[in-house]
Amino acid sequence: MSADANHLLEWRSAFAHPATVWIAAGIGIALAASIPLAWAMRRAGRMSDKTWQDVRVRCLTWCLIAPAVIVPVLACAGATMLMVCAVSILCHREFARATGLFRERAMSALVVLGILLIALASLDNWYGLFVAIPPLMMAIIPACAVLEDRPKGYIQRIALAAIALLFFGAGLGHLSFIANETDYRPVLLLIIVCVQLNDIFAYCCGKALGRRKLFPNTSPNKTLGGHLGAIVCTVPLTVVLGSLVFRGTPMNDALLLVGLGLIFSLGGQLGDLVLGSIKRDIGIKDMAATLPGHGGVLDRANSLLLVAPAAGHYLGYFGGLQYERVARVLTSAPGALGP
């Protein structure tokens, strides 16, 4: 097996990078401490019964979500890519069932095909295919829709399919392609942890400080205090963790890390609001009821929709990702180029 193929299954270096150890340990401690901490706050009268029930269910669900995401990332690049592909398909499924796109089986199947091809391009470390899939599928989807000879609802069908492909295939797919990096584990953990903590910071700050509603029509529970609180907490966290993750790379610069923190915080919150707008337009509260306390998988992954491509290209541009391996893994074609 080639060195590049070995990378897909390489599990021995799971904790080789010190930042991976620190972040993984932090996740474990946070999960273990979350429910006792909330219980103590409730006992101290700092939390209402309703909030306690909400927090308890959310924390218990986190105890299932976190290992389902973190273990594949720690295991190997191949498992990470398959996990991202599975999350993409689950997000598409929820989106399709919420919007009614699932009744258009051909459109829905083409989106799944696009997601699978993007996963394949990631597994193959074939950047050319990775960036070619979205435009190619955007040619195929409208063309196939024409074959049905059913102009009524044509724009809506292809628009929904395009949104699904771009958000869940191309957007989340960047997390998959990052796994081709030799030291991908701390980078992915940084992205996932900071973005998810950003959500939690916004929730907590909103509960504690939130007064003025910023987007009352889109998401009535979001407040200016929550938004600003999330930025104030997430940016320093990103700078601290980022300096560990990117030690020895050009990204280990305070200003660049502040920029990364802003991408995490603003991108995460905008992703949340994007999905909020979609849900408001449809007239539903949650995309699904798969994860108790959280709604659906998409309700949990919405913050990553915009962050994944933005952070992936930001890190690529400023040297946080080296993309040093340029050879394909599964296919071999002369002239294959990296990014």
Partner: protein, 296 residues
């Protein structure tokens, strides 16, 4: 430009948890379940053909589009599979065999297998109310009563409210989902597409193979509608896979499909439901006699 024309119709089972969804009469097939169902049907048709030398007589009477109800005698777990396999492929995806909830939807794993491979809807027989039948009726017609799309209602149906619970306590087709999974269509504002149902009005499998009287619950589903009800006689299923056995025997299976019947003129009352059940029983009995006469 206005985007007011963009209307979204979430899945009718939207908001239900994974297991609850499998047990709901609101369940709509997604891409994966559609593919698995069709794969299972292809395997089923091949198995029936090879192992049971399966034959369908009276194909010209088979429905070509929903809504419709297929009913038959019930003496084996093979019956629902046999009727599903007899249907044309283009209506398979929109046809739901109605299966006993207390048998086929008791555990999560069994619910998943029954829903994904057979595309069945549950009917919980032990907790009797008429609401489950209203749910099935609403699902059959393609939506809440009076909602757009319910174009198959009979002439007396325009202002129909909730049916009185008039004597269906012994219908054998009554139910309420034990886990909050039914009683959910007639009270929802969503519109569905009409579907086909496969039902066994005897309410349970015959232990000796002889057809039992039909329960009036079938009347509650189809009375005062123009939905075609297709009577069928299944021959050989009791011998092939009788109650109490674990593996089907390689006996020949034959389905005789009768001419569709409509009950738009039957009132929604106990008398009307009884009349529907009696008429259908006669139709299936006639098909049985035909089959035995042809078979010598």
């Amino acid at each position: 430009m206005s985007n007011a024309d963009w209307q979204f119709h979430p899945a009718a089972d939207h908001g239900l948890g994974p297991v609850e969804r499998l047990r709901s009469t609101r369940r709509e097939q997604g891409l994966l379940s559609w593919a698995m169902h069709h794969l299972a049907l292809a395997g089923l048709r091949t198995t029936l053909k090879v192992y049971h030398r399966f034959e369908v007589h009276g194909r010209e009477n088979l429905p070509t589009a929903p809504p419709f109800v297929m009913i038959a005698n019930h003496a084996s777990h093979l019956d629902a599979l046999v009727l599903a396999a007899a249907l044309p492929r283009k209506v398979s995806a929109t046809t739901f065999p109605v299966a006993a909830g207390d048998v086929f939807f008791e555990s999560a794993a069994l619910s998943a297998a029954t829903a994904l491979f057979i595309n069945a809807l549950p009917l919980w027989r032990k907790r009797a109310t008429g609401h489950a039948l209203e749910d099935l009726r609403a699902r059959l017609l393609g939506g809440r009563e009076g909602a757009p799309g319910s174009s198959v209602l009979g002439p007396e149906q325009g202002s129909r409210g909730h049916v009185q619970d008039s004597g269906l306590q012994d219908s054998g087709l009554q139910d309420s989902g034990p886990k909050g999974s039914t009683r959910d269509i007639a009270h929802q504002p969503e519109c569905f597409s009409p579907v086909g149902l496969i039902l066994f009005p005897e309410g349970a499998r015959s232990r000796d193979g002889a057809m039992m009287p039909f329960k009036p619950g079938i009347g509650r589903i189809v009375a005062a509608t123009s939905v075609p009800v297709i009577p069928c006689w299944i021959d050989g299923a009791h011998g092939a896979f009788p109650p109490g056995t674990w593996l089907p025997r390689p006996r020949k299976l034959v389905v005789r499909v009768g001419a569709p019947l409509k009950f738009a003129d039957q009132p929604e009352s106990r008398d009307g439901y009884d009349a529907v059940a009696t008429r259908l029983h006669q139709a299936v009995e006639a098909l049985r006699a035909d089959t035995q006469r042809v078979g010598g």
